[in-house]
């Protein structure tokens, strides 16, 4: 039970002649919500794409659920991919399908469940993300930003993954929608015993969700710890990212600290 869900070792990535990652090490134990934080262009999304297996790092090893990401036959690799769900930054719903078909798609691909069971599962996933069954008939183009995120989350959860990767889940949502979405993820995390990797720029999202914070700066993970212990870290990026924001917020609120 103690094998980390994700284990990155010595990841190195290069775009043309620009080094993005140089020796990224990260181990995520089961059940954690890890927020991956870093400046713009620090390669957070690239690291996530490595974990999903969409891109290959130049060097280093990636292990998911204790197995090397690209090990085994095609069927094993595909089975491994079904154990995680991904919420892409802009939802990435299939625009030719309606919401219901989007959620049913991964279920149908399995070829196991009957149509009636798929319909029941789609209703369940919709209710999990607090959407009405009537929303299933809507096309992605007809959805608001928050609804797109919910529908995409429902699709990511369709196969009940053990690991959920969220790329900027609350970006582009207004504050109360964003709070509701955070609450939703927290509930799902508790219900489904998920391990969650979260890429975010939003400190409220981070503070509300993350059990641990991984800081990606200087081309590697400079810290992977709880939020309290991250806050006292003497690192220029941490100072800028956390304290700059809080200082501004406090100044705006007119409180003295």
């Amino acid at each position: 039970m103690n094998t980390p869900v994700i284990e990155l070792q010595g990841i190195r990535t290069r775009f043309r002649d620009q080094l993005i990652h140089d020796g990224v090490d990260l181990a995520v134990p089961a059940g954690e919500i890890v927020a991956l934080v870093g400046g713009s262009g620090s390669g957070k999304t690239t690291l996530m794409r490595h974990i999903i297996g969409l891109t290959h790092p130049e060097a280093g090893s990636i292990r998911l659920f204790g197995e090397a990401l690209h090990a085994g036959q095609l069927a094993e690799r595909m089975a491994r991919r079904r154990r995680f769900g991904v919420l892409f930054q802009h939802g990435a719903l299939f625009s030719a399908f309606n919401v219901g078909e989007n959620i049913a798609f991964p279920l149908r691909e399995q070829g196991v469940a009957s149509e009636e069971e798929i319909a029941a599962l789609v209703r369940l996933k919709l209710s999990m993300v607090e959407m009405e069954p009537a929303h299933a008939a809507l096309m992605p183009a007809e959805l608001s930003g928050g609804m797109v995120k919910r529908a995409a989350l429902a699709r990511a959860l369709a196969l009940e993954p053990e690991l959920l990767l969220l790329d900027e889940p609350t970006a582009g949502l207004d504050p109360d929608r964003s709070v509701a979405f955070i609450e939703l993820i927290r509930t799902l995390h508790r219900q489904l015993h998920l391990t969650v990797i979260l890429i975010t720029h939003d400190l409220d999202t981070l503070a509300a969700l993350a059990t641990r914070v991984a800081i990606l700066a200087d081309k590697r993970i400079v810290s992977h710890d709880t939020l309290e212990r991250t806050l006292v870290l003497e690192h220029p990026f941490v100072q800028r990212f956390f304290h700059g924001h809080y200082r501004r917020a406090e100044a705006a609120a007119g409180e003295d600290h």
Binding site: A113, A120, L124
Partner: protein, 357 residues
């Protein structure tokens, strides 16, 4: 009876022997004793399977882990009622879709006329403010739709010329009317085949590209951004394409017709022994120059139509992949159809011009 479930009850792991599991579960009766304590992992699919096997109510005799009880409770609480379905096809729907198609056609026609009118207004505006003429865009488009299409246009033209000449000369030989190959090729290629061939090629090559480009720009809201910056979309996006095609098409027609005639002349030389020098000498005598003007004029008109149709469909793309592909297809098919209709109109309008009686 007593049923004991164990192992992974999830969609990912039940796949292999799902049929056998369904059969076993179907044998259960209300009095069956259930033991689920050995289940390692249970997901919603497994829970639905089990819940249905129970006849959608908790059996009298069941033992399971509290955590799994919660998952089954969640599956039991799935909101009832079917997902909304699209209506089945009925006679009423048939009438409605016919009406839709008709109204859609009217809508297209109106939009097309509006686009043409906007283009006219833009031209007047540019005549008043010649400095705003999008010269760089026109030049780039001419290069893209004209210069880059030259190799493929030449290849197609050459082969068509060779084939046309070869097949015609086989027939002409039987009549001993070899010399008329020059009339046939000259009239056929310069007046008819050249413009139509180039139009089909350009509609497929550049028309589709224009529609897709404008379509993606619509999906990514680039066109809205342009409007918000106070730049006229028709002036910056539509007009350069129309001008470029109206300029490039006659040139492409000239190029393709020339290469097709070269192919035809070579074939006539091989097949009928007509020397290329004689071919070239006779051509202006049997094919009046008016035919060349008609061909070039057609090229210009077809260019206008192809660009307008491409822009028309491009600007109507909805933000989804289906609409993009449908619009691109519609653009190419409509452009070719409209070009051939226009060609028929040209044939009628110019029936007394440039034909030696």
């Amino acid at each position: 009876m007593r049923l004991e479930l164990a192992g992974d009850w999830s969609l990912n792991s039940l796949g292999r022997d799902i049929d056998q599991i369904r059969r076993t579960l179907a044998q259960a009766s209300p009095s069956t004793e259930w033991n689920l304590s050995a289940v390692a992992r249970l997901d919603s699919f497994g829970a639905i399977l089990i819940w249905r096997a129970w006849g959608e109510c908790w059996p009298a005799n069941v033992s399971l882990q509290p955590e799994h009880r919660r998952i089954i409770e969640r599956a039991a609480a799935i909101p009832a009622g079917a997902l909304p379905k699209t209506a089945a096809f009925s006679p009423r729907a048939a009438v409605a879709s016919l009406g839709d198609a008709l109204l859609g056609f009217v809508d297209h026609a109106l939009h097309f006329v509006a686009l043409l009118g906007q283009l006219f207004l833009d031209c007047i505006h540019l005549l008043r403010h010649p400095r705003q003429f999008p010269l760089a865009e026109v030049s780039a488009s001419v290069y893209k739709v004209g210069v880059k299409a030259m190799p493929v246009a030449a290849m197609v033209g050459f082969l068509i010329g060779v084939v046309l000449s070869y097949l015609s000369s086989l027939q002409l030989k039987t009549f001993g009317a070899d010399i008329f190959i020059i009339n046939i090729l000259g009239l056929g290629i310069i007046r008819e085949l050249g413009p139509v061939l180039v139009s089909v090629l350009v509609a497929g090559r550049s028309g589709s590209a224009m529609t897709a480009q404008l379509g993606v720009m619509r999906v990514t809201e680039e066109i809205d951004a342009l409007a918000a910056l106070g730049v006229s979309r028709s002036q910056r996006l539509v007009l350069p394409k129309v001008f470029a095609l109206m300029l490039a098409m006659p040139l492409l027609v000239l190029w393709t017709s020339a290469v097709a005639l070269l192919g035809g002349a070579l074939s006539a030389w091989v097949e009928l022994g007509i020397a290329p020098s004689f071919f070239l000498e006779t051509l202006p005598r049997v094919v009046p120059i008016a035919n060349l003007y008609i061909g070039l004029l057609k090229g210009m008109a077809f260019g206008l139509l192809i660009a307008l149709v491409a822009c028309h469909f491009g600007l109507r793309v909805q933000p989804n992949t289906e609409s993009l592909s449908a619009s691109t297809t519609a653009s190419v098919v409509s452009a070719i159809t409209i070009v051939i209709l226009a060609d028929a109109a040209f044939a009628i309008a110019t029936r007394t011009v440039g034909v030696v009686a």
